[in-house]
Amino acid sequence: MVTRGFVGRRQPPETGARLPPGQYLTDDFPILQIGPNPTVDLATWQFTLREGSRPIKTWSWDAFEALPRTTWHGDIHCVTKWSKFDTAWEGVSFDDLLADAGISAPTPFLLAESYDDYTTNVPVTDLVGGRALVATRYAGQPIHPDHGGPARLFVPHLYFWKSAKWLKGLRFTTSDTAGFWELRGYHMYGDPWREQRYTGD
């Protein structure tokens, strides 16, 4: 359906090719979350891998910082339509996390769980093979609490609501279990290139 008189602002081809459908480029780093930043103290911070309710392994901040580190450079895409190019993140890859725990993924799905009780679901296949980090640095610095520090999930090939802020753990689940936004109409998978913003997209 054409809107009378709407022309739009076309991106230069080199930008357009990097923008998923319906997205626009921003130089800002907008902040979206459901409530205030939780208070997360590094002295008591813990990160726990669970299978259902059973803990598999827990790391303190110091133990987590001692794990092998992976860096990632590229573009991120938020379901609220902004994309940001050429971001730089560093953290522990999901593969290295599993290796340190001495396991392979026990189920095909998991729920990321945050200190503010936010949750979001991601299939394990989208986390392995270097596709995801638990990030602790952005642009070379510790991640500011506004952007999810001290540690956030980082899955850049999915819309950014999947990259849960203030991460406290990952819980393997036997089935694909909707998280906070997925229960409220957001897409279960969230591929920006297929514009999977909401259920049914």
Partner: protein, 239 residues
């Protein structure tokens, strides 16, 4: 929630359009969604050019359901705004766009959710809070409410006459205006928060919307004033 929520695109026709402030345009849209949203939720708006190019943006709904078959968006004209620019310079009554939603269940309120309600808005972040106050005025005036509203100047404040009239006639509602770029003006501070809390009593629901800077400051002050973080819901925009 057993049924998945599905958002489909709906055709919407502009039923009314007018300047609300020097930088904000009020757009009344006739659309099926007008009968099925909660105060505080937002919608996605999609515009399509002759050649099929599309642009989408999210806008909070300013109205509360009123049986008119229309809903109101208050759209701030941004410099070079691809979508807002069309609304502020091209759009006229009868033009058609597409809408889907309503989106954002956690940042929404209705009378049965109760209160007291403490609302904090920075600039155009007041829009979803205005919807909540309009909903409250439809039959929930027994619920105490306060609006902390930070704006550059009074002239830029959205719906100021409506809010001041409501504050004057409704003892259960208080308006706490902070003008940051006017002589004698100030930013929100602990004193302003304390005054608002004195009027509402301990809030059951807190909704904050605005720039990141505003929401972070308001959120910190409200938590410092003793409000449980778990009752606070935020929506932020910009860097």
């Amino acid at each position: 929630m057993t049924e998945p929520i599905v958002f489909r695109w709906h055709r919407a026709e502009i039923a009314g359009i007018a300047l609300a402030t020097p930088h904000v345009t009020s757009v009344r849209l006739r659309c099926p969604l007008a009968e099925s949203y909660r105060a505080g939720q937002h919608v996605d708006v999609r515009l399509t050019a002759e050649d099929g190019y599309q642009a989408q943006r999210s806008y909070s709904v300013a109205s509360a359901q009123d049986g008119s078959g229309t809903l109101e968006l208050l759209i701030e004209g941004l410099p070079d705004g691809e979508v807002s620019g069309w609304f502020t310079t091209v759009a006229q009554v009868g033009d058609q766009v597409e809408l889907r939603g309503p989106i954002g269940g956690s940042f929404s309120w209705d009378g049965p959710d109760g209160g007291p309600l403490l609302l904090g808005g920075g600039g155009s972040g007041v829009v979803p809070l205005l919807a909540m106050l309009r909903r409250r005025a439809q039959g929930w005036r027994g619920i105490p409410a306060a609006l902390i509203y930070s704006v550059h100047t009074r002239a830029e404040a959205i719906a100021l006459p409506e809010l001041e009239r409501l504050a004057a006639e409704d003892p259960g509602f208080s308006l706490h205006l902070a003008t940051t770029r006017e002589a004698g003006g100030k930013r929100i501070d602990a004193g302003l928060i304390a005054e608002a809390l004195r009027r509402t009593g301990p809030p059951g629901k807190v909704f904050l919307c605005g720039s990141n800077r505003f929401v972070a400051a308001a959120s910190d002050l409200i938590v410092a004033a003793g409000v449980a973080p778990g009752v606070i819901r935020t929506e932020r925009f910009g860097a």
